[in-house]
Symmetry: C2
DNA sequence: TATGATTGTGAGTGGAGACTCATGTTGTCA
DNA sequence: TGACAACATGAGTCTCCACTCACAATCATA
């Protein structure tokens, strides 16, 4: 807790590190943008050289900005998670809160079917502290949507958060690996949503009906 | 169970190729067994050397039996698919046909959570002609179970085969990558099964006059 | 503009892993 | 039991890829 309070200690608002030179900043952004596209298409096994080539820089430049391939992947994850969190907030504040959860799941599965990154995000890449915070936010965002959905009666009251997250990850993985088309996505999700909704008369199905 | 008359007349019992020398047959079986365990634990990225070491043979021996790592993987897939198909037949012939589909899905998801091979089988490894036949059988087996389940009223009538297969792959992937424990598996599957069932008043209860 | 610090460059290094092949070993059958 | 084909061996080749570093280019500041 022994921290100085001098304003000179916080040179910037971007997180506590030195400001980048103009060209460096430009390259960094270019690399992230290209990497996002490349990894989205080919998955995390795509080579760093391909990213460098796409960004029009030498491979050394990529490693100057991101000391490790893993670091690059996590930078992308972070951006992706932030965007997802914004989406969640918007849905939570929307005018149809009961449907927000379904909308979000639908959207994520659709993205997963097209971008490997989304799925990677949820499982394959190691999660370190950089990403952990955003992931926690995502969890909380889904929880908020779930709460609203339960309160609105769109989702059964006994559905738990970890079940929803499990379904979300499973559906995303399935959509990606098996290459579901939009129609199949829609129909499959409809079944799952039906399960989440349960019958209109919620009281009847409280417990005991499993198996 | 078609028995041949002369042992000398059957050059092989494995599908139409040359008979193996005793030691070769022994090694081949050993390799498959070890590979199954290794790939189940570490996924298809485990090295061929590890398999060789586990089987107590040199790496050249592995490549003598399976010219390619891919070939080895597919040999395993084939065995796995055959076992799954047997399981399907048993369930289809069982005394609770309506529940057979649910039992099968539950079983597969449980295996997926413990063995990477099952999931690989469904997506990651390339499928060639060797495996394609068994995969088709699997598909048909699930279809048979689905038919029975629909007829028994355990599954809604408008549920299609590709939807069930999509759910199956998604759940398996999810269970593997996110490492669901048995409890979470059960609860998550319960939601999906609920979705497959639809409203209970629609069909089952062994009462007539279903709308 | 001059100067130094920051950044970019890309051939090079090291390691991992699939696959080969010349040589040694073993099962099988006459 | 001898002889040979079938089989096993494992060091070596080849390719790919993450990551490094000595040096060159470029930006920011006086």
């Amino acid at each position: 807790m022994t921290s100085t309070k001098s304003p000179a200690d916080r040179p910037d608002d971007s997180g506590g590190v030195k400001p980048l030179r103009a060209d460096a900043r430009r390259n960094r952004e270019r690399i992230i943008a290209v990497a996002e596209a490349v990894f989205a298409e080919k998955g995390p096994s795509a080579s760093t050289e391909e990213v460098a080539a796409g960004a029009g820089v030498a491979i050394g430049t990529v490693f100057k900005h991101f000391p490790t391939k893993q670091a690059l992947l996590q930078a992308i994850m972070k951006g992706l998670l932030e965007r997802l969190n914004e989406q969640l907030s918007a849905l939570a504040a929307g005018d149809r809160p009961g449907e927000g959860l379904f909308t979000f799941v639908t959207e994520m599965v659709d993205q997963a079917a097209r971008k490997r990154t989304v799925v990677t995000l949820l499982a394959e890449t190691g999660v370190d502290l950089q990403v952990a915070g955003s992931l926690q936010s995502l969890r909380e965002g889904v929880e908020a949507l779930l709460d609203r959905a339960r309160r609105a009666g769109t989702v059964r009251e006994d559905v738990r958060l970890d079940e929803v997250l499990a379904l979300l990850t499973g559906l995303c993985h399935g959509a990606l690996h098996a290459g579901w088309d939009v129609d199949l996505q829609r129909r499959t999700l409809a079944i799952v949503f039906e399960g989440l909704r349960g019958q209109p008369d919620a009281a009847a199905r409280s417990r005991g009906s499993i198996r």
